[in-house]
């Protein structure tokens, strides 16, 4: 049976890991390749690298980190952050990435998703959707007393898009997976936004990776059982607390969730 994936997320800035709260106040949390090695040793199911600076000047640093990680960690790598064209995608795949996450570029030009999926295969293309509760957005289908809106440019620009409608659209354009982040919850360690997660996960036929807000191992369980996520991603809980991938795996298994066993024989 297909297992639920536990995916540590590493935000990158100028070659270092960083972590923040609600997409601001970033602090340095170490060397990305070292962190990747540790997660690999602990049996993380996949790694997620997001370059938050994402400038053209910085591109080489990102390729270098991906390349060095791929040389030592024989596990799936998803990489995102400022990816704008198929050339970027090709270079990252050649450097060792397995999947590419696109966000702002997809909003600015949805046809880019089609193009990327056609060239590289839709299983390579993850569309990342960052969502905030916003009074300025369209009324969403999720709850009558709250409105959700998709934000671009690292959570700074409102788009007027409803996350469920946008999720359906990107899947139609060829996205193989969705990485859904609640900006409001991100870094707060108070849990995923389960209403948002469930609404999107139930609306699309591709896997949805939950992101933003994990503070306890129970949050992973809720993300799967209540939020219907196919995979759970987290940053702060692994960087700033004593929770680890190993503990997460045990906790999820005890909650009756299908996670990978690491025994080989």
């Amino acid at each position: 049976m297909l297992k639920i994936r536990i995916i540590p997320s590493l935000l990158l800035k100028e070659g270092r890991c960083v972590k923040g709260i609600r997409f601001t106040s970033f602090r340095d949390t170490g060397n990305p390749v070292t962190a990747a090695r540790i997660y690999d040793a602990q049996g993380a199911d996949e790694l997620l690298f997001i370059d938050i600076l994402a400038s053209k000047e910085n591109r080489k640093t990102l390729f270098d980190i991906v390349s060095r990680t791929a040389e030592e960690c024989f596990m799936p790598l998803c990489v995102g952050g400022g990816i704008k064209d198929t050339d970027d995608i090709r270079k990252l795949l050649l450097a060792g990435a397995d999947k590419i996450s696109i966000n702002t570029a997809a909003i600015e030009n949805p046809k880019f998703i089609n193009k990327a999926a056609e060239i590289f295969g839709n299983q390579c293309i993850v569309v990342s959707i960052d969502v905030k509760k916003s009074g300025a957005g369209q009324h969403s289908v999720i709850g009558s007393d709250s409105e959700y809106e998709v934000f671009s440019h690292c959570g700074t620009k409102p788009t007027g898009l409803d996350p469920v409608q946008w999720a359906k659209q990107v899947v139609e354009q060829g996205a193989g997976e969705i990485l859904l982040t609640s900006i409001d919850q991100e870094g707060t360690r108070t849990g995923y936004d389960l209403d948002l997660l469930k609404a999107v996960a139930d609306a699309v036929e591709v896997p949805v990776i939950a992101s933003g807000g994990v503070g306890s191992l129970q949050d992973f369980v809720d993300g799967i059982k209540k939020g219907h996520a196919s995979a759970v991603s987290a940053g702060s809980i692994f960087h700033f607390t004593d929770q680890s991938i190993i503990k997460a795996r045990t906790y999820l298994a005890e909650a009756g969730i299908n996670v990978r066993s690491r025994e080989l024989r």
Binding site: K3, R5, D40, G43, F74, N122, P207, A231
Partner: protein, 227 residues
């Protein structure tokens, strides 16, 4: 550790570069395991390799188109079917071993395994949680059951326990006409072919180079095969 030949040389593995996807991880994994690796589309270089790897990520039609345009179809046919050189296909590479594929049209494959490649189709099947639709692509770690039948010294799964998990990421899967070609099955809505083995031809739908220890064991077994 990789076992060496009696004269001390480590076997040369040729990874076929036909422009489809990430070859670096496969190369690095094999190097880590002690093999001498070359990544190339050059026919004379590939002909000196002891064993071949056909990796691949992408669409069936594009894969075959590239193999044809590089003159690899006939070359590999001779190397693998006539000269009996071992070859392992990974992901798309395994799918191309089939007679035909139905991804974005109807395409002819290498035809070395009597099989066709079709998209996951769950109509008429009950998948997983009754409340949840099974998502496509099939992405993530899933366990495989070995079906290589006889006590097989040439199995790429030697030393691994039945039910071990590997990393899959695909929307299409191979359907074999001859069940004896199936070396392992995986379940996603229904049982599908996770690995094939016919004489010197091997294939894995999953990515051994992305499946941590379990995957490295498969690659190590491939390097050490005596065919």
């Amino acid at each position: 550790m990789v076992s060496t030949e009696s004269n001390g040389k480590i076997k040369m593995i040729g990874i076929i570069d036909y422009g489809m996807g990430n070859l670096r991880s496969v190369a690095k994994a094999l190097e880590l395991l002690g093999a001498d690796v070359t990544v190339t589309a050059d026919l004379s270089e590939l002909s000196t390799a002891e064993k071949l790897v056909l990796p691949g990520v992408g669409a069936f039609g594009d894969g075959m188109k590239n193999l044809h345009s590089l003159g690899l179809v006939d070359f590999l046919g001779t190397e693998v079917l006539t000269n009996k050189k071992p070859l392992i296909g990974i992901c798309l590479g395994m799918q191309l071993l089939a007679k035909e594929g139905f991804e974005r049209g109807h395409h002819t494959g290498l035809g070395w395994i009597d099989a066709s490649v079709r998209k996951f189709d769950f109509s008429g099947h009950h998948g997983g949680n009754a409340n949840q639709v099974l998502k496509v692509p099939h992405v993530g770690w899933n366990d495989v059951k070995f079906t290589d039948g006889e006590q097989n010294l040439n199995s790429i799964f030697n030393g691994l326990k039945d039910g071990v998990s590997f990393y899959f990421v695909h929307s299409y899967h191979m359907i074999c006409q001859d069940k004896s070609d199936v070396a392992a099955i995986c379940n996603y809505g229904y049982d599908f072919t996770a690995a094939v083995h016919r004489d010197n031809i091997f294939g894995t739908q999953f990515h051994p180079e992305k499946s941590q220890d379990a995957g490295l064991k498969v690659l190590e077994n491939y390097i050490n095969l005596k065919i």
